[in-house]
């Protein structure tokens, strides 16, 4: 089991109190799997990916365990985590387009970064060329400054850098949202290629765009207000969603071929709850059309059918 997350709690310390951004989240990621993590803004998906890589104030580790290849990650200890950063867990950030030092040649920056992590550039450089071609970048990029490349090229350079040490877990945080349709497809397919060529053992693709996940993810985890509400294979999530929130979310997404005159789509009324001191029970109950008295107690994430977990009393109740 590549990655196993148990009751992970990551809160933000703010002047007004603790924001429960990721609250008691548990799931596993198999080897060789691309797990899609979807949810709207403020659901905690980015907090999760950042907490595995750079957990520092105002973010605070409140509890839970995360195991990577059998080893428990010392998330609370910033220094000890350094062993895992880049070598075991790596990140392609949302701000990938300006993640490179503008006044340093890319080749030189990579060499210095690798040297600082105890890896010799010469040993890697042939492999580096191979991977640059994989993402349509040629060798000459090494001698250029980041500002000489276009946004898309800088992002692809970061993709190569992030996966250079064959991390066992790669986190990709909203890397396609700022791209044009054509580039989006190419970048998504590159990630799949990275997984197929075993450059990364398993991959978490964080995004708000479920249609992208339908294209490349094996399984999808839906987050809502800091909780994992549903985890299932991609086809099941899009075709037979069980959790009320997932159902409403999927039905509110216009797709090419859906016209207002034929089918008038409907959004979800209201807004996600504030996570400063959230009310008890299911966090979707204020907006949920099928709410009933049991919802005042927090629903567990239960396995309702083969490889399909959902956190809703409606579903868990009848075969729980």
């Amino acid at each position: 089991m590549a990655v196993s997350v148990k009751n992970l709690k990551i809160y933000y310390q703010t002047l007004r109190g603790q924001v429960q951004a990721v609250d008691n989240v548990s799931f596993d990621i198999k080897d060789h799997e691309i797990l899609g993590m979807a949810g709207e803004s403020g659901c905690g998906k980015s907090t999760f990916s950042n907490s595995l890589v750079l957990l520092k104030p105002p973010m605070k580790f409140m509890g839970g365990r995360v195991e990577l290849d059998g080893e428990s990650l010392p998330l609370a200890d910033f220094r000890k985590m350094n062993e895992f950063r880049y070598k075991k867990i790596s990140l392609i950030p949302q701000y990938a387009m300006n993640a490179l030092n503008p006044t340093r040649k890319i080749g030189r920056m990579i060499a210095e970064l690798l040297a600082s992590r105890g890896v010799s550039f010469s040993k890697i450089s042939r492999e580096l060329d191979r991977r640059l071609k994989l993402v349509n970048l040629n060798r000459s990029v090494m001698k250029m400054y980041p500002f000489e490349l276009s946004g898309g090229m800088r992002q692809r350079a970061v993709m190569v850098i992030a996966t250079l040490l064959d991390p066992s877990l790669l986190l990709a945080d909203e890397i396609t949202s700022a791209l044009d349709v054509s580039t989006q497809k190419a970048v998504a397919k590159m990630l799949v290629q990275f997984r197929d060529m075993d450059l990364v053992k398993s991959l978490v693709f964080v995004t708000h765009d479920i249609s992208i996940l339908y294209q490349i993810a094996d399984r999808v985890l839906i987050m809502y207000a800091g909780k994992a509400v549903e985890i299932a294979p991609t086809k099941k999530i899009t075709k037979e969603p069980l959790h009320p929130y997932t159902r409403l979310l999927i039905s509110s997404l216009p797709d090419v071929g859906v016209k207002y005159s034929e089918r008038r789509l409907a959004g979800i009324k209201g807004r996600p709850p504030g996570l400063l001191n959230p009310f008890p029970g299911c966090r979707f109950k204020e907006r949920c059309p099928v709410r009933f008295e049991k919802c005042d107690k927090e629903p567990p994430l239960a396995e309702v059918s083969e490889n399909h977990q959902v956190a809703c009393w409606r579903e868990v109740g009848n075969n729980g």
């Binding site: 276009s150 054509s182 190419a186 249609s211 216009p254 090419v256 071929g257």
Partner: protein, 313 residues
């Protein structure tokens, strides 16, 4: 209602304005009463520039824009102020459209001070409240609040209510829902559809094909400042002619079918400067059917209500 004839916009770039960037080149389109026209294009396609030109926020370099058969570039002072009673706009980032220092409903107060200063307070409040109701909002929940206390969806609806206060005929919606959460987007789209049914003509600017398809009767596909394809939405989406449109339709991620294998290899939009393709179809460098005969693009009729500038068709 609104007619654009061979509109071109060239930006000065560089410290002394040496460089030239042709953001929009020779675009002609028209908007009818009670119809939604979608302008779909990726970043750098000039779609927002067109919106801003119609709203007279930036000047036009060549060509003309006629609203109710009046050339808007001639409007000055008073006449320009009156123009804004017929045309209004809503922008992409709600949190940048509101002056952070003031309460959100100050946007109404400005309208009152500029256009309805003689109206009595009570009558004005009724007019505001009815306008808020018409966009599906409860006045008490949204009035007297600072922008950061409201959601993106609410802020955008407030702007639409503001436009309704001026009882405009044309609304320019420039990417108004791309910053909103997926679940609340559709309600704003449905609001636009209701307004369209009440006779408002809307220019819906977006980069998202599925939104464009969902809402519009007529669609204009832009690529690097020029029209690639234009026509009734169903015709363009179900019988795409221009290779760029076809590439878009194969690349957009769908919820019901996987990406088709298309041999579109990766190309950076900004890499080739637009004017180096001076007398060429703008898609020449990425097109798989490109040939010598691909000269300067002109709009050609493919079928009733369906045009393209692909020279080979």
């Amino acid at each position: 209602m609104v007619k654009l004839r061979n509109v071109t916009k060239v930006y000065r770039t560089g410290a002394f304005g040496g460089g030239k960037l042709k953001a929009v080149e020779d675009v002609s389109l028209s908007m009818e009463q009670g119809k939604v026209v979608s302008v779909i294009g990726e970043s750098g396609s000039g779609k927002s520039t067109i919106g801003k030109m119609i709203l007279r926020l930036i000047s036009i370099t060549e060509g003309e824009i006629l609203v109710n058969d009046k050339d808007i570039s001639k409007l000055k002072g008073k006449s320009l102020k009156e123009y804004y009673r017929t045309v209004q706009g809503v922008f992409q980032d709600p949190f940048s459209t509101y002056n952070p220092v003031f309460k959100a409903d100050r946007v109404f107060d400005i309208i009152r001070a500029e256009y309805f200063s003689d109206m009595k307070a009570k009558k004005w409040r009724e007019k505001v409240e009815s306008s808020l109701q018409s966009v599906g909002m409860v006045p008490e929940q949204v009035l007297n609040k600072y922008p950061h206390q409201l959601s993106g969806g609410q802020l955008q609806r407030l702007l639409i209510a503001r436009a309704l206060l001026m009882d405009v005929d044309v609304l320019i919606a420039d990417e108004i829902i791309s910053m909103l959460d997926a679940s609340t987007r559709v309600d704003v789209l449905n609001l636009l559809i209701d307004l369209k049914d009440r006779g408002l003509s809307i220019l819906f600017i977006t980069h998202d094909l599925s939104l464009g398809y969902y809402i519009s009767d007529y669609v204009v596909i832009l690529y690097r400042g020029s029209i690639a394809e234009m026509g009734y939405t169903d015709k363009v989406f179900y019988n795409p002619i221009h290779p760029y449109t076809r590439m878009l339709l194969t690349s957009v991620p769908r919820l019901d079918q996987k990406w088709e294998e298309s041999e579109e290899e990766l190309m950076e939009t900004q890499e080739i400067a637009a004017d180096s393709l001076e007398d060429r179809c703008k898609y020449y460098d990425r097109c798989h059917f490109a040939a010598e005969s691909c000269g300067k693009p002109e709009l050609k009729k493919v079928e009733e209500g369906h045009y393209t500038t692909c020279p080979r068709r």
